[in-house]
C-alpha cells in the first residue's frame, strides 16, 4: 500500500470514527447502554488511531529523507527478526497468562465455559503455531 492509498484509507477511518461518535451522542437514551458504549469506544479508537497516523504521514511528506530511512528500517532483515522474536516471546507469555487466568477462574468458581474456552484458545494457538511452522518451512 503506497502513501496515497494509506492516507485515503485513514481519512475514511477518521470520518467513520467521527460518525460513530456522533451516533453514540445522538442515540443516547434511544439505544441500550452497551450499544452506546460500544459506538463511543470504537468511534474514539478509530479517531485516535487515524488521527495519529495521518499526522505521521503529513510529517513524513514534509521530511522525505526521514520517511525513506523509516521505510528502510521497517524492512531491514535485522529489525524484522527482532520484531518477530519480541512478538514470539510476548505471544508465549500471553498464552501462558491465559492458562494462568483459567486456573484462577477455577478457584474463583467461575462458570465452566471460562476455563474450557481458555484451554481451547491455548490449544488452538499451539496448533496454529505448528501449522505456520510447517507452512513457512515449505515457503522459505
Amino acid at each position: 500500500m503506497n502513501r496515497t492509498q494509506k492516507k485515503r484509507l485513514f481519512q475514511i477511518l477518521l470520518a467513520a470514527g467521527i460518525v460513530l461518535l456522533a451516533l453514540a451522542l445522538l442515540l443516547e437514551g434511544l439505544v441500550s447502554d452497551a450499544l452506546g458504549g460500544m459506538l463511543c469506544g470504537v468511534g474514539s479508537g478509530l479517531m485516535a488511531m487515524s488521527g495519529s497516523t495521518l499526522l505521521n504521514l503529513r510529517h513524513e511528506a514534509k521530511h522525505p529523507e526521514m520517511a525513506r530511512q523509516h521505510d528502510i528500517e521497517q524492512r531491514d532483515e535485522r529489525n524484522v527478526a527482532i520484531r518477530n522474536r519480541a512478538k514470539a516471546v510476548s505471544g508465549e507469555a500471553l498464552q501462558w497468562s491465559i492458562m494462568a487466568a483459567a486456573w484462577l477462574s477455577i478457584g474463583l468458581d467461575a462458570p465452566l465455559w471460562v476455563p474450557i474456552t481458555a484451554t481451547c484458545v491455548f490449544v488452538a494457538k499451539s496448533v496454529l503455531e505448528l501449522y505456520l511452522i510447517v507452512r513457512y518451512q515449505r515457503e522459505m
Binding site: 452497551a34 450499544l35 458504549g37 460500544m38 535485522r78 529489525n79 527478526a81 527482532i82 520484531r83 518477530n84 522474536r85 519480541a86 512478538k87 514470539a88 516471546v89 510476548s90 505471544g91 508465549e92 507469555a93 500471553l94 498464552q95 497468562s97 491465559i98 487466568a101 486456573w103 477455577i106 478457584g107 468458581d109 471460562v114 484458545v121 494457538k125 496454529l128 503455531e129 505456520l132 511452522i133 507452512r135 513457512y136 518451512q137 522459505m140
Partner: protein
C-alpha cells in the same frame, strides 16, 4: 548437567505439589475441591513432563539429533519466531474481539477487563522485548 539438575528439581516439586494437594484433600474435606484438584493436576503435569524429559531417548538417535540441529539453526529459528509471532497476533485479535463480543452479553465486567488487560500487557511486552533485543543484538 545443569539441565538435569533443574529437571530433577522440577520433578520433585511436582511430586510434592501433587502429594500436598492429596494430603490437603484428606485433612481439609471442606476445602473447595476445584482448587485442590487444580493444584494436584498442576503438580502431576509438572512431574510427568519433567520425567518425560529426563527419560527421553531423543539424544541417542542421530537422525533426531540432526533434525534438532536443523530446527535450532538460523533458518529454523527465524521460521519458528515468525510462526510464533503470527500466532501471537491472532491470539491478540481474538482477545480483543472476544472482549467486544462479550460486552453485549451478561458476563461480569471483570471478564472483559481481564481480556483487555491481557491484550494491553501483550502490546507492552512487544515493545519492551523489541527494545531489549535491539540493544542485545
Amino acid at each position: 548437567m545443569k539441565n538435569r539438575a533443574i529437571l530433577v528439581s522440577l520433578a520433585i516439586a511436582g511430586a510434592l505439589l501433587a502429594g500436598a494437594a492429596l494430603w490437603a484433600a484428606r485433612v481439609f474435606p471442606a476445602a473447595p475441591a476445584a482448587v485442590l484438584g487444580a493444584f494436584g493436576l498442576a503438580g502431576g503435569l509438572l512431574l510427568l513432563c519433567a520425567l518425560a524429559e529426563l527419560l527421553s531417548t531423543r539424544d541417542l538417535d542421530p537422525a533426531r539429533r540432526e533434525r534438532d540441529r536443523e530446527d535450532r539453526d538460523e533458518r529454523g529459528t527465524m521460521i519458528r519466531d515468525k510462526a510464533r509471532a503470527r500466532a501471537g497476533d491472532v491470539l491478540l485479535w481474538l482477545l480483543l474481539f472476544g472482549a467486544g463480543y462479550l460486552y453485549f452479553f451478561d458476563v461480569p465486567k471483570r471478564v472483559n477487563l481481564t481480556l483487555l488487560g491481557l491484550a494491553s500487557v501483550k502490546l507492552l511486552l512487544d515493545w519492551v522485548f523489541a527494545a531489549w533485543y535491539r540493544r542485545k543484538f
